[in-house]
């Protein structure tokens, strides 16, 4: 990745000129053409994303198994999440993905100010997503719904006492809501960590985009980061229905 991302190192430029086939500063001398370099960069990025599929895939698989085993606990625990915030967050992420895509286009057509504006918007939407997520986490903390010694099952054994229209769970099944919340925090937490890393890279991209690094025909870093950002969106598109929408219609 580094070779595809690096731009203008004077030493490389010099070495490239000696080989006599470098026309652009971002074209590294070990690639025959700029297209080949771009292709290699995309290929490497996709390989990385495939390892990410396997990483998140393991957690989705665990979710699938435990959901089948402890379905009643998963339903009741899932129904305690806020569909409203979840849906808003989904739309926020899709919008940030759209802005990122427009940012790639802006880099392609060499419009620096539009590129910077789109990268900033993407960043702000990412921060908005994380703020809403923080609100959700905080609520779970207050309700003692974070798995561990302080986990409180009373909301699931006695839902009527909390004004919740759910069938009460026997204590052993109510304990299994911890499995749901463990997976909830593991999956959304890893997703959030990816977003935090993404926001850091976005800040770096913004400072370089402001300098005009990506508005002179060199779009690989923006393009490859966009792949990463869209991938995070796609992970969330699975998390949203699986965690928030397990069984929202009234139980019979």
């Amino acid at each position: 990745m580094d070779s595809a991302l690096a731009t203008t190192d004077p030493a490389d430029l010099h070495a490239g000129q000696e080989h006599g086939h470098v026309s652009l500063p971002q074209h590294r001398h070990h690639f025959e053409t700029v297209e080949q370099q771009r292709e290699a960069g995309s290929f490497g990025m996709w390989l990385f994303l495939l390892t990410e599929i396997m990483f998140f895939g393991g957690m989705f698989l665990a979710y699938l198994l435990y959901r089948n085993w402890y379905y009643p606990a998963f339903v009741v625990a899932s129904n305690q999440l806020s569909v409203r915030i979840g849906t808003i967050n989904t739309m926020v992420l899709i919008t940030s993905g759209f802005c990122m895509a427009i940012g790639v286009w802006a880099a392609e057509v060499r419009r620096r100010s539009l590129l910077v504006a789109m990268l900033v918007t993407t960043t702000l939407l990412g921060v908005l997503f994380l703020s809403l997520k923080y609100g959700e986490y905080h609520e779970k903390y207050e309700l003692h719904h974070i798995p561990g010694n302080n986990f409180n099952i009373s909301m699931f054994t006695n839902p009527a006492g909390y004004g919740i229209k759910e069938a009460p769970l026997p204590p052993d099944m109510a304990q299994k809501t911890q499995v749901f919340f463990f997976l909830y925090f593991a999956m959304t937490g890893m997703h959030a960590l990816h977003m935090i890393i993404g926001l850091g890279i976005l800040c770096w991209l913004i400072s370089r985009a402001r300098r005009g690094d990506f508005s002179a025909g060199y779009v690989a870093p923006v393009e490859n980061f966009a792949l990463y950002w869209h991938f995070i969106d796609v992970v969330w598109l699975f998390l949203y229905p699986l965690l928030y929408l397990i069984n929202r219609h009234p139980m019979h």
Binding site: H21, E32, T33, E35, Q36, R38, E39, S42, F43, W46, L47, L49, L50, I53, M54, G57, F60, L61, L64, L65, N68, W69, V83, T87, T90, M91, I94, T95, G97, F98, M100, A101, I102, W105, E108, V109, E223, A226, L227, H230, F231, D233, V234, L237, F238, Y240, P241, L242, L245, I246, N247, R248, H249, P250, H252
Partner: protein
């Protein structure tokens, strides 16, 4: 490298013509993604028994495919990259299928 050789490269499986997706195309994709999000949310509130989960996962897969093809430009990539993406997804499905078949066959009829 001659122009001819460069041109011939574009027909190789490793090379694709670079294509710029327009903002209008991105906007259509964006609207479709939002509409599908609304649909999956609405469908969750209707009692469709086992079909609820199938619809939710089906819509998520549709969104992921649209996102990968257009936002992530997979539709315009070389055959090499398309094959790589397909292989990765396939291996993931193998992992899920093999693991689930093991778990389900161990507790046959109890799930």
């Amino acid at each position: 490298m001659t122009d001819q050789a460069t041109h011939a490269h574009l027909n190789d499986p490793e090379h694709a013509q670079h294509r710029i997706v327009t903002p209008l195309q991105y906007f259509f994709v964006y609207i479709i993604m939002l509409a599908l999000t609304g649909l999956t949310c609405a469908a969750a509130f209707v009692d469709l028994k086992w079909a609820n989960a199938v619809i939710a996962v089906g819509i998520a897969c549709t969104q992921a495919t649209i996102g990968a093809l257009f936002f992530m430009h997979a539709a315009f990539q070389s055959r090499l990259i398309k094959l790589t993406i397909g292989a990765g997804v396939f291996v993931f499905l193998v992992m899920v299928t093999m693991t689930m078949s093991d778990y389900m066959s161990r507790s046959w009829g109890m799930w």
